[in-house]
Structures are given as C-alpha cells and as structure tokens.
C-alpha cells in the first residue's frame, strides 16, 4: 500500500457528517450512533423535517443543549442533554426496540471498525482490549430499513477496514447498505461494493488501493457532492 496515500488529505469528521445527512430525506425517522453519526443531526438539509430516534426512549427531540443547560431527564443515548421540541414522544425500552427491530426506523447511522464486501459489520468489540459492549448496535444494524456506516477508510497504520471477510467478531451479517468514509461513498449491493463518490483530489484507482475487495465503479461515479 502506498505510504503517500495515507498522508494525502482526506475529508474531516464534519464533512463526513454533512455528506451522511444528505441521505436524510424529508419525513424519515433516523437513529444516530455516538461519534460522527451524532454530528449529522446538525446538518439536516434546510426545509426537511427529520425525526430522530434515540434508543433510550425518545423520538423527535431537538438539538443538543449547551453544557450545563438542559435536564438530566431529557438526554440522548450518549447521555447528552437535548432540547425538547413539538411532536416529541417518550416510551419505555420494549417500545423503543419494537420501533428499531420492527422495521419502523428508516435509517440507522453507526460507526464501525470493519465492513465486509457482503455488508457484514463489526463495531462492538474494542480490538485492543478484546472486550466490548453490544448495547443497541446489533438491534439497530438488523432492524433499520437502511444501515449507513460512517468510518475512516483505513486504520491509522493503513490497514484495510473495508475487507473481504471480517477478522473481528461481527455485530451483524449482511446488514450494511452504504459506507461513508473520509475518501469515498460506497453502496453495498448483491453484486458487490459499488463506488459512487470519491473525495476531492482522489481517483477511483486510489480509493481501490485502500480497499481490499474489488470495487465496482458506478457509471456515474464522481466527486462527493454535499448538497
């Protein structure tokens, strides 16, 4: 793998979140995992009404409050206090996961360590500690109509994260529909991984060099568009 590709400029977290939020169509119900996915709530395209679900039993909550403001009785799954907004509803845990598992959630966005070409995904085991927390990840991966993974394309040391076969314990098999990375947007299809978009300054060939499975280049493949 080329050393200089690792050093080449990539998209930052905010831009990855911005690109992810482009998928939030008007009226959809979306669950955001911790990390970059949660940033995406700040980038809902103007004029669209999107309902955010949080596994701890709330739907339709507003933006994250400033530190020290807000109520400890109104928090998202990461424990951050959020603003109430009209239409918001609370429910218990069985109801919360009936929403997730029952296919009532349109999109789940999560981080991951690895995604395979079949859409298998690993994100709960902390590799260096050989321990992890399943939490709601397995339910969200299996239950949502569309599962989007947001992650860096390769590890800090340049190892593949988009792989032929997972070498971490899986969170769920055949569950990922789309991968947004710091250099590309990839659809997971029955035929294989389809490269749809690449970061400015990158080429499909360079994205392929950092991806273990062979990518199918979409006929309309082009530079990432954010709006």
């Amino acid at each position: 793998m080329s050393e200089n590709l690792l050093e080449k400029e990539k998209l930052d977290r905010q831009v990855m979140a911005l690109r992810t939020a482009k998928e939030f169509e008007d009226g959809l119900c979306v669950n955001l995992g911790v990390g970059i996915p949660m940033l995406a709530s700040n980038f809902v395209p103007a004029g669209r009404e999107v309902i955010f679900h949080s596994e701890n039993g709330v739907m339709g909550y507003g933006e994250i409050t400033l530190p020290g403001e807000g109520s400890l009785d109104l928090v998202n799954a990461g424990g951050q206090t959020v603003h109430p907004q009209p239409g918001m509803v609370f429910f218990g845990h069985d109801e919360s996961f009936a929403i997730v598992r029952g296919g009532h959630l349109d999109i789940s966005v999560m981080g991951a360590y690895q995604v395979s070409e079949k859409g298998d995904m690993a994100n709960y085991m902390i590799p260096e500690r050989k321990i992890g927390t399943i939490g709601g990840a397995m339910d969200l991966a299996v239950g949502a109509k569309k599962c989007i993974i947001v992650m860096n394309h390769v590890t800090k040391t340049g190892e593949f994260r988009i792989v032929k076969k997972l070498n971490y314990l899986p969170t769920a098999l055949n569950c990922v529909d789309m991968i947004v990375t710091d250099i590309a947007v990839i659809d997971v299809t029955d035929k294989g991984l389809v490269l749809k978009e690449f970061a400015p300054g990158w080429t499909p060939e360079e994205v392929q060099q950092l991806t273990e499975p062979t990518l199918i280049i979409d006929p309309d493949c082009g530079e990432i568009t954010l709006m």
Partner: protein
C-alpha cells in the same frame, strides 16, 4: 381495607432481599433513570452473590455528583463492592475508560452474559407477559446465537430467546400512588416500565407520592397491578435562599457538598 403499597423507608422496601437473588435494575446509563436509593439500600442490606439484570454496569457516584445529581449512586455501588456473581447486561464496559466492572471481569470475579439491548428488553417483557420465550432476528451469525435454538419463519432466521425470571425489580418513576400506578419523567423512563411486573416483587422508588386519583388514567404508564411496593425519595431542596428544615435532606446535602469538594480537590 384500603390497598396501600407505600412503605416508609428504602431499607424496609428491600428487607426481604436475600443472598443469590436475581434482581432487575431499571434505567439506562444516566443516573436520573435509576432507582439509586434502592440500590444503596440493597448495598446496606449486605446481600451478595446477586444476579443483576441491567442495561449498563454503572459509572459510579463521583461522575454523577459532579453533574449535580442529588441521588448519585448507580449499578457501580453493587459492582465496586463485589456483590454481583453474574451480570446479565447489554452495555457492560465503556469504550472511553476501564470501568470497575471490566476490572472485576478481568480478575475473574464476576460472570458476564452480554445481551443485545432490544433482546434484553424483550426477554424481560416475556417474563412479565407470561411467555415461554420469543423468536428474535437479532444476533444471527454472532456470539449471541451460541447454544440457542434457531428457527426459520417466513424465510427469515430467528433465535429462541428465553424469559429472564427474577426475584426483585428495582425501578424508578416520577410519581406513584398507593395502588402502585406510576408515571415517569422524560428519558428517565427507559427499562423501568419494561421491568415493572417482570419479577416476583417489584419495588418502585418515586420522586413523589401523590393521592389516589391524582394521576390521569389516560396518562398512567405502569398500571399498579405490576407494582408491589412504592417508596418516596427524600425531597431535594433548592440550595439557594430556601431554608432547609428536613434533617435527612440537610445531612444528605452536607454529605453531597463534602463529596463534591473531595472529588474536585482530587
């Protein structure tokens, strides 16, 4: 005789707790959702070898005191005092730091059964609803499926998940009445109504006890039939200009202020 599920103290509420009991602990991760005073009473009772069923394994009181939580204990009080033999939990460890539970696990002092969060909710609900089990599509192809019956229904694979039967459920609600009817506050609902009625004895710690009839029947979340005991938290007083007269509240406030000082001095 009028039904009266109200008990006067947390210690009385858990007086029949025993070594080796299985207890459901409601709430999520944040302390506002957790029956903190009941957990403290379980700790004071001195019971050990517990099997606990909860979403998380706790952050510890120090974290919550710094956020100004008046009742700061969570699952960690049973973890750090090594009262747990086995934990059935969805989120046992933190990606951010090594918690007390992880240390016990590494030392071989506690047994872990990790369960996907939705499956945990449904296994608890199955016990409450008198079901022999539920077929769940989550966990196929993962460590979760080990040793479980698989069944294909309408072309999709499911795992048979069995009910979690418990002796006690410790839950936190906002308001309750003498029949045990409960309402909750915001995102502090979480596992509490799911666990109410899923154990032989359900004990509800409430912020406030209200007169029968005061809760709107259209808005009651947990019907009293699921609840055996109701116990009220001490009132939390504004620390501003208000004069505090309640002795217990004064003591807990002083302890709280001392603890915060200690924690911030570290």
């Amino acid at each position: 005789m009028p039904i009266n599920k109200i008990v006067s103290s947390f210690d009385e509420a858990v007086a029949d707790m025993f070594d080796g009991a299985t207890i459901l602990v409601g709430g999520f991760g944040t302390v506002a959702s957790i029956a903190t005073c009941l957990l403290e009473a379980v700790y004071r009772k001195g019971v050990k070898d517990l099997t606990t069923v909860s979403n998380a394994s706790g952050f510890g009181a120090d974290v919550w005191k710094l956020q100004g939580a008046p009742f700061p204990e969570d699952m960690d009080i049973l973890v750090r005092n090594e009262r747990i033999k086995k934990a059935i939990v969805s989120a046992p460890v933190s990606a951010l730091y090594v918690n007390n539970f992880e240390q016990l696990l590494r030392a071989g002092k506690v047994e872990l059964e990790m369960v996907p969060q939705g499956t945990l909710a449904e296994r608890v609900r199955a016990a409450k609803a008198g079901l022999g089990g539920v077929y769940v599509p989550v966990g196929i192809g993962t460590v979760v499926e080990e040793g479980k019956e698989k069944k294909v229904i309408d072309g999709r694979e499911y795992l048979l998940e069995l009910p979690i039967k418990a002796d006690f459920a410790l839950i936190h609600a906002h308001k309750g009445d003498r029949w045990g009817n409960l309402v909750y506050n915001g995102t502090s609902r979480t596992f509490n109504p799911t666990m109410a009625g899923a154990a032989k004895v359900t004990i509800a710690e409430v912020d406030e006890i209200v007169e029968l009839g005061e809760l709107d029947p259209e808005h009651i979340i947990t019907p009293g039939v699921y609840v055996d005991r109701v116990v009220e938290r001490p009132k939390v007083y504004d620390t501003g200009d208000t004069e505090i007269t309640d002795k217990q509240a004064l003591e807990s406030l002083k302890k709280f202020q001392d603890d915060v000082k200690k924690a911030t001095d570290k």
